[in-house]
Each structure stands twice: as structure tokens, then as C-alpha cells.
Symmetry: C2
Subunit: 552 residues, 2 copies
Amino acid sequence: MRILIIGAVAGGTSAAAKARRNSEDAEIIIFEKDVDISYSGCGLPYYIGGEVEKRSELVPRDAAFFREKYNVDVRTSHEVLDIDPNGKVLKVRDLNDGREYEEAYDKLIISTGARPFVPQMDGVSLDGVFTLRNVQSADRIRDFLRSKSPKRAVIVGTGFIGLELCEVLVKNGLEVHMVEKLPQVTPGLDSDMSNYLRDYLEKKGVILHLGTSATSIEGEGTVSGVTLESGETISADMVILAIGVRPETTLAKNCGIETGQSGAIRTDKSMRTSIPDIYACGDCAESFSLITGKPVYRPLGSTANKTGRIAGNAIFNDSLEFRGVLGTGIFRVFDMTVGQTGLTEREAIAEGYDIEVSHNIKPDRPTYYGGKEMVIKSVADRKTGRLLGVQIVGYGGVDKRIDVFVTAISFGARAEDLFHLDLAYAPPFSTTKDPVMYTGMILDNAMRGGRSIADPRLIGNGTYDGEEVQIIDARAAGQYMEGHVEGAVSMPHETVREKLSGLDRDKPVIAYCNKGTTGNAVQNILLNNGFTMVYNISGGNTNYRTQKKKRD
Amino acid sequence: MRILIIGAVAGGTSAAAKARRNSEDAEIIIFEKDVDISYSGCGLPYYIGGEVEKRSELVPRDAAFFREKYNVDVRTSHEVLDIDPNGKVLKVRDLNDGREYEEAYDKLIISTGARPFVPQMDGVSLDGVFTLRNVQSADRIRDFLRSKSPKRAVIVGTGFIGLELCEVLVKNGLEVHMVEKLPQVTPGLDSDMSNYLRDYLEKKGVILHLGTSATSIEGEGTVSGVTLESGETISADMVILAIGVRPETTLAKNCGIETGQSGAIRTDKSMRTSIPDIYACGDCAESFSLITGKPVYRPLGSTANKTGRIAGNAIFNDSLEFRGVLGTGIFRVFDMTVGQTGLTEREAIAEGYDIEVSHNIKPDRPTYYGGKEMVIKSVADRKTGRLLGVQIVGYGGVDKRIDVFVTAISFGARAEDLFHLDLAYAPPFSTTKDPVMYTGMILDNAMRGGRSIADPRLIGNGTYDGEEVQIIDARAAGQYMEGHVEGAVSMPHETVREKLSGLDRDKPVIAYCNKGTTGNAVQNILLNNGFTMVYNISGGNTNYRTQKKKRD
């Protein structure tokens, strides 16, 4: 058995290791165009920033390691030029000496990864314009920062790589501009959650240019600025293009392997491509949603490891099948963590779900123990009660809650299940009821308990979604005075029972407090007193303020 | 509807709040013997230690709050003397003035909590002998530390309260002795996991007296020492009894309410006791295991909140039923976190399960990003593949992994499911494959892939569980020289393929490395070369060393 693998980063090396675990006899060869192998692509921003000091920490394994430990022949600086699926032969070029030769395979695994998308515009090749793809490209950015001491940078794109690099540059003392085509940062988030991140970035001094594109990069030899659609030019000493990545599928397409709508290689659950004996894994392969079953393209190191292992196993048996992804992602920018999993509100609506949405604002630990608030936006399917997706922004413990949600959603959890989880409680780690449990309670109360949630974006001056409503501010009168929802009257929680007669029972009532808890208490009082149309503002005044804030 | 509640800490106040959410009309009265209500019992150690500075942070709500916000009448310093279930009347004493009166109920909720167990021995009433039950008892310890500046303390009991207090006292400069009847610290853990904690505590300077009991407390008026079974007296300026708690059930028992084997009040899933219209919740109530369905007693603030809410709801409808507990617990002592959920190995064996056990040692984040190792012991049912329980000791990210395991076990996860979880990966938060995933892979490989795991406790000099075996050390020769498993020969991973002929195919082989990964790689080589009896040491030499270490 002769197994050839194209690409030696996360997917390819995982496939090789798993194949070897299945068979001592198989001959396994990996071809890698690059010089580095098996490195942590997700660690690159931290390497540039110096949090990871040594290059060797990012690239812990070399070809000798794979030879000695796994009896795998890793050929770096070897480019595969062509796949002949009929003859089952690869044409390979040794980039060290230009020599070309052929290698025959019984099984082939394509793990060619992804490349940063570079838009077609003037100036992308100027000195000082970077993309981040591999360790060498990280070296170039790191060297540039140290040798050229740039003062101003423009980052095009506000995905997690752009934001992680943004932090690095700000910490290096640069003035950082970020350009994003969409009217929000981080396209993967719902816009309301994106607003929290946006406000935080601006507080950190990042200058955002949203809803506009870069049309050209200026400079003579070296970059001097970026011109936007408006005609405005931002002067800059360096530019990073972080607009996203595209699957590297040239070899696969050239030999007739099918790709999906995403442009990535289509596979079955054993990572088999449309051509017999050829498998694909990692960032060049299409994935599918565990929730909808539909194809998605979500290139990530963790998924590449997973699909690599599955491909390396599938050559020998079908005991391991890919179950799809939830599209989980997480990043840290300065002290803020942003995580998400499953469907966003936007995606859930596009899929035709009738959804319930909640914004739950809670500290990650007791405030007496230094807890800091996180905002958990959750989306559930009203028909089944099932949780569809979650987005969280916060400062501590976000990764924990996202992973708990990931696990719950993977097992088909309904909102009502979350309250029952026997999660670990001690003050250094959580609140007595964990924020995850509150999220379940809020959603379940809305779906089955008649505790309707109002979307702050739909609130006008005394109206909700265009309809006339009564808005009551359940906080202390002093808080109302400092700022309140447009059209709201002050009716502190402890006075509501006495003031019921002042409310019109035929008109919907919207209650709110700072974050939602007291608003819910008042909602309960009204419902239990016979009012029928009572809403609580999702995430209270905190969320309302964030969504209604005048920006620009 | 008249609802009376006995006890105003976690369970009672949760019940009251939920009852009010269900009904505006119900009259709700809570009687509390103590002066403080609704405080965080789990926060008391941190209050004593000063991490929580103000008493008011621990006790954020008072009777006025419940009156104003929930229209609930909380009567502090009011002791319920007697329950008359036929007349549906309580006899109450106002401790402020000694007045006694009766209150009739339609529904009664007993939430009398638990009290620290105080053994019958001389000296327990001496000055300087403490238990930790409520805020006042915490005040006493705090005041004693500040005013008396004790130099030496003995803590009897090594459960989480004892350990949290141990940290406080060590940080206050005291020499701390801990006395534990069992031969291990923290009775709830399996002894092998307890060994990690034990070594850590000793490194922190805590003096442990295990496998012995305190027989008397010495002193004249004020404590001067603790005498152990051996006759040895440890001199001490203060003593804390933290041997565990007992459910406070006197009132319930006196009126004929059934208790379970644990001594706590038996309830159904709606928290109904054996007497109509009387409910129980919180630390006085028995719980049951979500895994076995059998009664357990696991008093915890988080469970009290949960059962309180269920009791408060059950008065009105059966929409919310208690699903039981996994026995999840977590504590931090110095920088170490210890978490557990589900069945221990000991419990699983006692329940008759045929189990697979793994010790997975992995960093919580990439080591290039400051990751520190945690040890994850997991127990699975070989028959079904289901995960039964997990214990973790580590320094960071333990709470996250425990909560992911809690969620997985709650949904009946099999070991093989863990690899497929789309957990959130970025270097500040996790490794590319999360430690949770590795745990699932190791267990599944053992149960379905023939990758048997050897328990280091069963390894003798060239034997395993009494049988003669070949033990091979797969690490670099230099590591072998520095110390190795008794009876092992050095056979570094990269040399194994050449040295196969030197091994006896008819005798079992046990491979190992430092933590398990390379041992598994060698195990694969042997199995794929036709060897049939091949084990990998669980947790490798690290775990072996910890388990075989000579102590005392």
C-alpha cells in the first residue's frame, strides 16, 4: 500500500499519523511545497506579536521527526504539479534543484490547504503589503515591524485574523485602521453582537472604516496608503490583507475532482472525493453543518486535524465518519473574547426557522469575586425548542460557555435542558446558576412560558415593530434620569404593583431594566395580573443602548 | 394560597422567587433562624481570606429587597419550632423577643439546609475551635485571624471547604496541619487522583496527617492542640472542623416526614416529601444520581438553587422536574483546580460496571502559549461506551473541561462522541485537539480499537497484575537513565521497529513514555506487527511516578 499525501500542515500530517497507526506496512510520503511543516497556523499572530517568542515553538516537528517516529517520508520544498487519477501517479517538482519526477499511489490524500484571498487591485505587490498564510509570511511581518518601525497600518478585513493582527500592531504602537466592506466588524457575527466588539475596538483606539472597500493601494515601490471607495486615502506604512481565505484546489480541479458551491473540494463523510482512491481533508475540503446538513466552508486548524485523521483512517476502514461542524469560532482581541457556534440569527432565518432570540448579560463569576459581564446571544427553534446557535462577547469564561453550548447543541439540546445541567460551581469559576443555565431559562420562558422577548432594534419612540406600545423602565428612578429607552416611563420594580391601574390593558407593554432580570420580574407581575401582551427587552437597557447608539 | 418557607438561604429564596413568578396572589412568608439571608455559602472561605472584602458583597439581599421586589415577607431571627402537618400550621418563635405564635399554610417548603458535622470528642467547644456554616461563623474565623494572629492551625477534614480554608490560613502565614481519617486527601476523589493533590499540598508546605483521626482537642478555655489516634498531639492556636455536613432534618423528622438512607429528606422529582403539601429543597433534601438513578446526598449551593426553583414551581404545576445530579464539584486550592463529575472509578466498580479507565495528561493551551498540564481521569462503561465520570487536576482550564464533560455525560455521550465535538479552538483557549477530545479518543481506542491501557498501580518489577510482562520505555535513552518504571528496558520510539525481534511475542508487552502519546505510538507499532497483548501505561511515567511515589 502506497499512500501519497499532498500538504504537510494540520490535515496532511494528521492523515499520515492516523494512516500509520492503522498500518505498519503502508509506505507513506507527504509532499510539501513550503519549507515548514506541521505548524500552528492559528499561532502565527501571537508569533508576530512576540507572545510566542521562538519560531521553533510554532513548528515543533520537522521531517526527521516524522521519519523517525512515524516512518513517514516528508519531502519539503516539493511541489506536486499534477495528479493523474487514471494512471494513479503524481508529477512532482523538487524545488531545491528543479528536478521533476513521478510517484505512483494506491491512495492519495489532498490536503493543500487554503490561501489568503488577494483582491484584484493596484498596489497589492508593493513592499509593506502583507498577507498571513504560513510561517514565512509571519516572519516577513515580524521582521518588517522590527526593522521598519512602521507608524500606521491599514488592515483590510475584520475577521479573526485581521483582529488578532490588529491587537499585535496596536501593542507595537501603530495607529491601526481597519477597512471592512460590510457595515459591521467580523462578518460572521450578527450585527447586534458585532456592535459590542465595534465599540470595544474604538475604545482601544482602532479606527474603523466600515461599509467601504479598499479600491487601491498607493505607493512607489513601498506602500504609502490605501484608497477607499469614497476616494479618501488613508496613509499607511504597512497594509495587511486579511479578507479571508480561498481553498487551494487547483490540483484537484485540474484532474477533474468535483468541488462544492463553496469552491472547496466536495467529499463524503469518509473524506472521499468524487474520484476513487483520492481523499481530501483540511482547509481545501468542504465541510457541512451539523445542524442543517448543508455544505459549508469553514477552514480551521481544529477541523483540519479532525478531517485529516478521518481521511487517514478511511483508507483502511469506515469506523470513523465526519459528523460536520457547528462553525464554532473563537478569538481574543485585547482583553475581549468573541466566540460563536451554530447558526447566527441571520443564518437561522435564512434557513427558514421560526426563531426565539435572547441576549443574556451575566458575569462569568460572582461580581464579589471579580466577575465581568458577558453578553450571550442565543437562537433557538420555536418549533422544537432546540438550540440553534450562540454568540458570546465578554472578558472571561467565554471559551468555557461556548464549549458547553457546542457540546449541548451537538447532542440536540433543547433550551429547557440547560437549566438542568449540573455544571461545576465554585466562586472562582462560575455563578451559582451558570450563565449557560440562565440562557436556557430565558429562552424556555419565552418559548413555553409566555415571557416574550423584545428586540431592542425594533423599538421606536413608544412603538415596537411599528405598533404603539407602553414602555416601562423598571429600574430605580435615578437610573431612569441618567438615560432611558425612548418613550419609556419610569416605573421602578417595587412600585409596579401599585401602578397597574395606570396602564392600558389593551396596549402591549414593554418592560426593561439594565440587563433583563428585573424587566422579567415586572413582566411576571403584569402577566400574573392579567395583562396579555407583555415583553421584556432582550438584554435590557445595556443592549438597547448598544444597538441604538449613534455611530459615525 | 398561603406559602410558608423554612430557611432563607439558597433553596428557600429560590423557591420564594419562583413561586412569586407563578403567582401574584399567593402570600409568601419565609422564616429564617439566622440574621443573614440569601448569602453565598460557597463564598465564605474567600470572605475569610479577604479576597471578598465586604460582608455586603456576600449578602447582597436583605428582607427589604424581598418585600419590595417580590412581595415576600422574610422574617429573620425567626425559628420554626414545630410543623403540624394535620392542622397545616407552624409554630414559630421570634428570637428577637421570644414570642411564640402560629402560622397556617396551604403549602410548606422546608429548606433548612445542613449543619457542619461536629464529632463527639473533648474540646470541641474550646475557644479557637471553629466550624464554617454561615456568615456569622465566617465572621468569627475572620475576626480570630485578625485579632489573635494564630501561628498554627489544625484543619480536621480534607474536603473542599477544608482545603479552601487551608489556603486562606497558609496565605495568612499560619503553619497548617490537616487531619484526614482516610489514607488520602479529599475523600470524594479516587485515591490516584488524590495523590496529585496531596503532592501539591505538601509542596505548598501543608502538613498532612492521613489515615488517622482526631481523638480530642486539647486546651484550657482556649485550644492548644489536637490529639490524634496515635497519641501524638499537634499543638495549635486554632482548629477548624470541616468533616462534612449533615442535613438539618429535625423539624421534618419530628412531624413524620420520611428521610432517605443518606439521612436527608426524601422527595419525588417535584420535591414533594412524603407528607402532602410539604416540599423540601436545598441541602436538607436528598438528591439522586442522573447516571444510576439512585439516591445520593450532595449538598451544594448550585443544586439548592435548582431544587428551590423546582419546589417553588411544583406548587403550581409540574412543568419542571428535577433530573438529578452528576455529583459535580470543583474547588481551587492555591493555583490548583480540582474538578469532578459523574462516577469515580471506585463508585463505578461498586455499581457493577465493567469499566475502562484513562489518565490523559495534556496542556490546557499550547505550551508555546503558556499552557499547563492537567490530568484527566475518565471512566467509561465498556458495554455501552458511555462516559460515566471524570476527575481533573490542573492549573488552568479545568473548569471548562469539567463543564464540557458534565454536558456530554448529561446527554449520554459515548467516548467516541468526544472527538467529534466542534470545540472552540484558538491558542489562548485550547489546543488544536482539545484535551476533552483526546480523552474520548484514548477511551474509544481502548474499548473498540484494542489499545489497552495499563493501570500503573498494578505494575510490579517486570509484572502486571501479578503476571510476567515485558516493559519497554519508549522515551529517549537519556530520560530512561534519569528514572524509569521498575523492570523496564529502554527502547526509544524510533528504534522499536528494528528491535522487534528482541521481544517475546508470547509475553504481554507494556509500553510507556512520559504521558502516554509515544507509548501509544509504540503500542500501535507492536499491534500492527502482530503482537497481541500490548498495553500502554495510563498517563505514562508521570502517572506511574505519582502513584508509586513513596510517601511518609
